[in-house]
Amino acid sequence: MAVAQKTDQDTLVEALINIAGEQDVVTGRVAMYAYGYDATLLFGVPRAVVFPESTQEVVDIVNYCRATGVNIVPRGAGTNESGGTIPVDNCIIMNCCRMKKVLEVDLDNYVAIIEPGVVNYDIQEMLAKYGYYYPPDPASYKASTMGGNVGECSGGPKCFKYGVTRDYIYGMEFVTSDGKVRWVGGRDFCSEPFYDLTRIMCGSEGTLGYMTKFAIRIEPIPAAKRTMLAFYNEPVDAAQSVADIVAAGIVPTTLEMMDNLIINTAEDATGAGLPRDAGAMLIIEVDGPAYGDLDDQVKTITEVVKKAKPKQFKIATTAAEVDACWLARRVAIGSVAHRAPSYSMQDITVPRSKFPQAVAGIVQTSKDYDLDIGILAHAGDGNFHPLVLFDQRNKEQSERVHKAEAALVKMALDLGGTMSGEHGVGLLKKPLLPNEYEPVTMGAFRNIKRAFDPINRMNPTKIFDL
């Protein structure tokens, strides 16, 4: 009887099983297809998926892949909007979803030690029991993992006041492609007087190493909070309020904007009771240690908003009202499926003072390319998510979408902004990156990558080619 030749694939799978155990290795066409996509429209096929459950397993897998020339694509929940987890040539997906222990909660020092597979929402739920929270809360927080949050340096509605993921990572453990385990940063405080490697790892999109542990900064939940809702006739009116609120010296926790199209799709999805004829809405939230301090802010905001002649302005009085408007905001992105089967989402950011011009620019782009574009913005940060609606199966329309995307990015850069506020570069924005950075700067980025991963094994071809 002829002995079947063991293929490369068999050898790979066997090796992974030896390291991680049978339960934690997945292959087969059906499963590989499920790891081929993320929240973008891109696609790829990995050779296998492995779920390491300890740092040692990560080290062993990395060593094996280095020796055999297999690429590694780190992955959390796969909700990124930039193609960061799309499988590359000859790769395995290394998934942190089953490495999800909370190792320590240290309330004295406002720190928690967690593994990368912990889902953002699960941390919030766990911390809420102690009266604490972890401020960065991307809209995807019920799905997205801390590995992914740090990988993309995610922001959330609260980041205008409280900052992004990077500002809440004291330190972390990661494994580089040489198989070494490194800890960078502090545990109970920021401790990098010189090269801040922790901050470089934040937003590294899996290209520098596989992260296995984080020391995250947690905070007591602010005792007082006020939520306001303003509906306007035109998006530019809302934009004016944004500029005026900030000019008045107020730093809201949240300043989120949705235009008419998004108001309507969110209403389709939730039935929260938003007025469908409003041109735009703002969610404005302020928080602080005591309600007394907030009254003045609420008063100022009320005056400022009234100046822009809103259709409607209200201060939420019940928790249910607050929840309803947050629900509408959180579902905004997915809800556009009620209108079109595909969407392309940009992540452009402009200086706050240019906010009204950017709104006008998006409206103009929508006209120029004859496409529906919904506007969703973390207005406080000047961060826009224009959602271009289309049908992927329509080739001609898809071409127009690509042109509109490029026009939006150019508009942001012309206003002194950036093409990516919080969603990362991945594959999607890779071709556009050189528009934003000089060749010398691109060279510096490449050198950083080489310093961490000289053999280009970790998420290769993402962000840029080496």
């Binding site: 059906v30 499920a34 997205s144 969110a266």
Partner: protein, 412 residues
Amino acid sequence: MGDILAEIYEKLNTCGRCGFCHGACKTYKKDGAEFFVARGRVQLIKALADGKIEDDHDYENVINSCLLCGECAIACPSGVKTHELVLAARRDYKLKKGIRPFLKSLILSSMTKPGRLKFVFNFFDGFGKNAMRRLDGMQFFRGIDMYTMPSSNNPFVAQVPEVVSVSAPKKRVAFFVGCFMNYAFVSSAHSVVKVLTKAGCEVTVPRDQPCCGLPQYVYGDFEAARAQAKKVIATFGKYDTVVTACGSCASMLKKEMVELFHDDPSYLPTVKAFAAKVFEFSELVSTLGIEDKLHSDSPQIVTYHDPCHLVRYLKVTDEPRKLLKSVPRLQYNEMFEANRCCGAAGLVMAFYQELSTKITADKAANIIGSGAETVATSCPACMLKINSGLKLKGSKVPVKHVADVLAEALRD
């Protein structure tokens, strides 16, 4: 016949891969694999429709491990109803390949044949259970507590007269017992009759109790399910009011049965007329005004678990809670995530026992966390599964049907 996947293609295409279902889907929360979440299921069904994958054994696992709990649909901003798409995919799979594996088809066809059904339940009760007992560590076979799984040689229908009459009946109702109650939760079935009669109803328990057809329906065997539906209507169609105390049966008789005949205009009106006469136990009882007949000497703390079919399919949530709260000296404690799936989900508990058992562990922890001394629910399948989950955690909290709690508060 049109291609089913082609029919649902636009719905599959609505999924924007946002991942919002990841937090809602229990099979994903427990396993962590993308092909066990609503997004993965939808994308894979679409991939099959596009000819990019084969409907192999892995694919079968993807669609058959779904709890059909519908939680993802609530979370989905795009309006994707994955449980319905999975059902369509199972139907498609059944038409192309028949029901596999072998055992599943054994169970499904047994359910349509009362004699065989008795055999299956007796297997667990008699030889099966004893054989399991002799093996160390086999107390929990596939996540079900074998020692305490109730099952009766003597089904409920054999223990009661066909008509349980009362003097001057307010209402006449027919009791659709459902196979789980008929064979495994006989005492709960007695409770149902007791509550109904105390409330002034004359209860007819037809000798012929066909399976509602849900197990066949959810695995895509619509032919068998339609045949069952016709049998059910043949027996129960003549009564003015039909009551069932199995949440799954209630959903089948009131909702899915109508969908099953949506393309059969000649029979659809009959089904609709029948469905309109069916009531879930708590729905019916809360209209009968039994509150002032309830007595209780000792205080008790009770919580309630919402069966998927009641909370998300039929949207019955207030009635059972109101009934429980109307029992004197009963303190009602709502548990955390009361409306989330307990992991039973028909045959998922048998074929994906590890996954299902992990899901039940959450439910058990929430029950214990509520401080309740009793957990009540409205579906025998949930009762079985939750009971096992609590035992595994070493808890002595008893699982009761809402009817049991009410029956105890009604003096004989």
